[in-house]
């Protein structure tokens, strides 16, 4: 049986890993490569690296960081998000280090490039980023470049329904960094059958268990709350006994 996933998230800004609060306040944590290596060793099911300053600056993906990560030869699947402007850049990101890519601005700016990326990489490699909030019961999709929100467009819903995007990264951006903050109602705003990676304000096992109960939630992504505890992944998995997750593992370090 395919298992649900616990995704460890590393957020990077200006080349440094940061702890992020509500898409607006940041505390430095250190070098992204170190945090990513740690998450792999601690048994994360996937690792999401989100580089948050690239799209705003229209600077393209952080290829230098990806090259460094490629040299690490991670044995845990890596998802990359940040700055991808074209199918060619998505392909370059995978060639450098990533197994899957998250697109956000590209969905708004050039959906045909999303389809092209799927044809090159396989649609299973593509994830759509949806920073969402609920206002008066209506889902609003944040464009973090402008700070404005709009209803989900027919284009993005079509990309999800058609399978051009394999999963939706549903981000509760208003509650990001807030313990227990994730609003489970956000999962329900997408059409049935769209697999969801839930992210933003997910911290404690009881809350993760509730979110993972939703059939369309394929994964939960946890960032800040894994940052300071070496055994946080094992502890969370132990506390989530009975949820169809891969059992906790801990890898030995190979000094080669």
């Amino acid at each position: 049986m395919i298992q649900k996933r616990l995704v460890g998230v590393v957020t990077a800004k200006d080349g440094w890993a940061v702890q992020s609060f509500g898409f607006g306040r940041y505390l430095p944590l250190g070098r992204p490569e170190i945090l990513i290596e740690n998450l792999g060793r601690w048994g994360a099911d996937e690792i999401l690296l989100q580089v948050i300053d690239k799209s705003r600056a229209n600077a393209g993906p952080d290829m230098a960081m990806l090259e460094r990560l490629g040299k690490l030869g991670l044995s845990t699947p890596l998802i990359y998000a940040g700055g991808i402007r074209s199918a060619a850049e998505a392909v370059a990101v995978v060639a450098a280090a990533a197994d899957r890519v998250v697109v956000d601005a590209l969905i708004r700016d050039n959906p045909s490039e999303v389809a092209k990326a799927g044809a090159r990489l396989g649609n299973q490699a593509l994830i759509g980023s949806l920073p969402l909030s609920l206002e008066d019961g209506e889902a609003r999709w944040l464009d973090y470049r402008t700070g404005t929100s709009e209803p989900l467009t027919a284009e993005v819903l079509d990309l999800l329904a058609s399978g051009t995007l394999s999963e939706a990264l549903v981000i509760d951006w208003k509650h990001e960094g807030q313990p227990g903050g994730f609003d489970r109602a956000l999962v329900a705003v997408l059409p049935q059958g769209v697999p969801v990676i839930a992210f933003g304000g997910l911290s404690e096992a009881a809350q993760l268990r509730q979110v993972l109960k939703a059939p369309q939630v394929a994964a939960v992504a946890v960032g800040n709350f894994l940052a300071y505890r070496e055994h946080a992944i094992q502890e969370l998995k132990a506390d989530l006994f009975g949820v169809p997750l891969r059992p906790a593992t801990y890898q030995r370090t190979n000094y080669a």
């Binding site: 049986m1 649900k4 490629g70 394929a218």
Partner: protein, 203 residues
């Protein structure tokens, strides 16, 4: 003392080789990443990695003059391991984005996954038979990321995964092995299986 084995990782411009290289390097193997026959000839085993769409990968193999090379190496009995898309390329043909001819090294067709749109994440494998390369890893979780499957005849099926029903995720025909999952991304379980396969094929 066991001689240090050399692994040839085919570099044909599809996907990244760093994780495969690192996984094999950490297992103690000497690795050569190349598309040059003279480099690949001087290795004990070839690894065919791959990410992306079948047709684009076959075109890339053709562009690097590797299609006939791989067929000749297979006929000569050289061990070859295909990973993920690399496993699918071993098949006769694929239906992904139209019909595309594959390497034709293991009979069968690559077809859309019918039980779900995708097979993404960690799933346990069920080993078929008593092949000692696979048997110790029965029940272990491996990382998958694909939407097409290699519909190989049962005689070539080495391991299966299951959603509603089982489907092949590992194939073997003599010295040819294909793995639908990513052993290089499957942490300790994947590394162990990879070592068993290299030693099993080269031993």
């Amino acid at each position: 003392m066991t001689p240090r084995r050399t692994i040839g990782i085919l570099d044909y411009g599809v996907g990244n080789h760093a994780s495969v290289w690192r996984a094999l390097h950490n297992l103690g193997y000497r690795c050569r990443v190349s598309a040059e026959p003279e480099v690949l000839d001087a290795t004990d085993l070839l690894v065919l990695p791959g990410v992306g769409a079948f047709a684009a990968a076959m075109e890339a193999l053709r562009r690097h003059d590797l299609v006939e090379y791989l067929r000749a190496q297979s006929r000569a009995g050289k061990p070859i391991v295909g990973l993920c898309l690399g496993m699918q390329l071993l098949a006769d043909e694929s239906l992904e984005h139209g019909l595309t001819t594959g390497l034709g090294l293991i009979p069968g067709q690559v077809v859309p996954f019918e039980q779900a749109r995708w097979h993404i994440g960690w799933n346990s494998i069920e080993v078929v038979g008593d092949d000692p390369m696979f048997r110790p890893y029965d029940g272990q979780s491996m990382y998958f990321n694909h939407s097409y499957v290699f519909d190989a005849p049962s005689e070539y099926q080495a391991c299966l995964a299951r959603l509603d029903t089982s489907f092949p995720v590992g194939v073997r025909r003599g010295n040819l092995v294909g793995l639908q999952f990513h052993p290089e991304k499957s942490q300790a379980a994947g590394a162990g299986l990879l070592k068993n396969i290299v030693e099993g094929l080269c031993g």
